[in-house]
């Protein structure tokens, strides 16, 4: 078991290394002078030179790479081209709203989606199933920001139940945090719920066709037991997997949602960086988010052995 955990963790290293190489090459392999692209058309030679020095573009490429990796190892994600502050520090100031919103969204999504999927599979081909599937397709089809604006229009502008935009840290006033976070979370949750509900339903339907389900029925156990004890426990691994891979969608959604709801998180930082062409910031955020994604999926991977005794070696 320890060996298994060790090997799983070790397998993460090459993935993160390739991510780093990829992000590194993204800028260097861009056709044309990267400094000119980042500085924009109206840049003076002095500005270009400043960008080149800041990103180390004058060095040979392997020197650039080793310096860059060395900096990464020390938690140095580079310096912003605009504000001249370290990227790690900028992210650090903005990370908490994003983490809070993300955690709330994941809890909300799993709590809504798994029961939805279970009911749909259990009542396969009834109106409940069709309703869940319709919601799921809809969730995939409407852009996040449209959902956000529709929710604002309805709950905040028309009904005036909730504030339009903004953010309050939970440590300051938890009630206020909730009232301001609930719409962004619902917005973000839509696609995530659609994804998880769909996967829950599909894997349950698959498991319900297995031989051991027939065995359970032959024993005379109740349908409730068949569904939850026998079927859901076997469908757990694919459901967990989709929660992990769906995290990438969540990150994309965060960027959009934070700008719709004016939340001062990493997502807003990303949008500001895009508009200012502040590439070191974009690069730092990509590395951080990819790392988080890999870490979450590692945890999920390790949790498989808890749900399925066959995965243990």
């Amino acid at each position: 078991m320890i060996g298994y955990i060790f090997r799983r963790i070790l397998a993460v290293v090459p993935v993160m290394l390739i991510v780093a190489v990829f992000v590194f090459l993204l800028l260097r392999l861009t056709p044309g002078d990267p400094a000119a692209i980042l500085a924009g058309d109206a840049a003076t030679p002095a500005q270009l030179e400043r960008i080149r020095t800041s990103l180390g573009l004058n060095e040979p490429i392997y020197v650039q790479f080793t310096t860059w990796v060395d900096q990464l190892m020390h938690g140095n994600l580079g310096i912003s081209l605009i504000s001249n502050t370290p990227v790690a520090q900028m992210i650090g100031q903005r990370i908490w709203p994003t983490i809070n919103i993300a955690i709330l969204t994941i809890i909300l999504s799993v709590a809504i989606a798994v029961p939805m999927g279970v009911v749909a599979a259990w009542r396969h081909r009834t109106w409940v199933d069709y309703a869940v599937m319709s919601f799921s397709v809809l969730g995939f089809s409407v852009p996040v920001f449209v959902i956000g604006y529709v929710l604002i229009k309805f709950f905040s502008i028309d009904l005036r139940w909730l504030p339009v935009q903004g953010y309050t840290p939970p440590s300051q006033d938890f009630g206020k945090f909730l009232s301001r976070a609930i719409l962004p979370c619902l917005t973000l949750a839509t696609i995530y719920v659609a994804l998880i509900a769909r996967m829950t339903r599909a894997s349950l339907l698959e498991v319900l066709g297995e031989d051991y389900i027939r065995t359970a029925r032959a024993k005379g156990v109740k349908e409730r037991v068949v569904l939850f004890r026998h079927a859901l426990s076997n469908a757990a691994v694919p459901i967990l997997t989709i929660i992990g891979t769906g995290f990438a969608l969540l990150i994309g959604g965060v960027v959009v949602t934070e700008s719709v709801f004016n939340i001062p998180g990493v997502g807003r930082l990303t949008v500001d960086a895009i508009l200012a062409r502040d590439y070191p910031v974009i690069q730092g955020i990509i590395l951080l988010m990819s790392g988080t994604y890999v870490f979450i999926n590692l945890l999920i991977d390790l949790s498989y052995s808890f749900f399925d005794p066959r995965i243990r070696y």
């Binding site: 390739i18 992000v23 397709v137 449209v146 994309g252």
Partner: protein, 294 residues
């Protein structure tokens, strides 16, 4: 389970290629989806023939007007006709969707077939694909557009690159399972060369799942284009796309929500129809589902 001999028509051969059940019947939902999608596609392609205004013409006198006879859906902040812009915007959005789907399916098919068969290449290719998938696709697309400029092709490639690993994984999983089939082993024994086996025995098995995956990619590409534009990392703002129109409408959301509503509605209807058709195709083509129904 002996089936009586049946005449074989060309159509049946094609259906056989896709292992599609005979006597294909669409349900109500998919039929509506197909009709809606057909209308949107035709209306977008034919847009230059009937739109009343130049979608780029600025008219300072008619800014943010409501709908009228001259301006069916009103005008935007620059006095441009929203109806003309939305219809023309569909052309670009659909082009990006179809383009991204075709490019990612083609490249993914190639990489997947090669890595599925040559074990030496497989490990490296799959590590690279895993790493690409670890980068959240929106962020990767943002970085690509930020570096390559806001051209149409740079947006298409920014949407395509994150999709490729998913296609590769799909193709590879099909190749790996079909490679174990006795008829492939028989082909090896019959002295067929690897490229021939790949192309004649393995590739046809990937077509059905790729058609399904392609429709999903098409839908998601249209969606991602809108998000990129919304974030300011999309196609140049001079070109009307559904995403661009909505991005510009953001500022006036509180006073004129229809600027977001109309392109948003077209976009959602379009993606919804494509997704529904994708689901239908999957239900028809997925052999596992079929087995359960049989």
């Amino acid at each position: 389970m002996t089936a009586a001999p049946q005449p074989v028509s060309g159509m049946q051969t094609v259906l056989g290629m896709l292992s599609m059940p005979k006597g294909l019947r669409l349900g109500v939902g998919p039929t509506i989806a197909a009709i809606v999608l057909a209308i949107i596609v035709i209306a977008s392609i034919a847009a230059p023939l009937y739109i009343p205004h130049d979608p780029l013409a600025i008219d300072a006198l008619h800014r943010l007007k409501g709908s009228s006879e001259a301006y069916l859906l009103g005008t935007d902040a620059y006095g441009r006709d929203v109806f003309s812009r939305v219809m023309m915007g569909g052309r670009v959005s659909l082009f990006i969707g179809v383009g991204a789907a075709m490019v990612s399916v083609a490249l993914g098919l190639f990489i997947g077939l090669v890595s599925g068969f040559f074990r030496a290449a497989d490990a490296l290719v799959m590590r690279i694909m895993d790493s690409l998938m670890a980068i959240p696709s929106i962020l990767l697309a943002i970085a690509l557009v930020a570096l390559n400029g806001p051209s149409l092709w740079s947006v298409i490639s920014a949407i395509t690159i994150p999709e490729i690993p998913r296609v590769v994984r799909l193709v590879r999983s099909v190749v790996l399972s079909v490679r174990e089939e006795p008829y492939v082993e028989a082909a090896i024994a019959l002295g067929s060369s690897m490229p021939k086996i790949l192309w004649q025995h393995l590739m046809p098995n990937t077509l059905a799942p790729l058609i399904v995956q392609g429709t999903y990619i098409c839908a998601s590409a249209i969606l991602v284009e809108a998000i990129l534009s919304f974030l300011g990392a999309g196609v140049s703002t001079e070109i009307p796309t559904w995403g661009n129109i909505m991005a510009e409408g953001r500022l006036y959301f509180q006073i004129k929500p229809m600027l977001i509503f109309w392109p948003g509605l077209m976009l959602s209807l379009c993606i919804l129809s494509i997704n529904l058709l994708g689901d239908t195709a999957r239900d028809l083509l997925d052999p596992r589902l079929k087995k359960r129904e049989a």
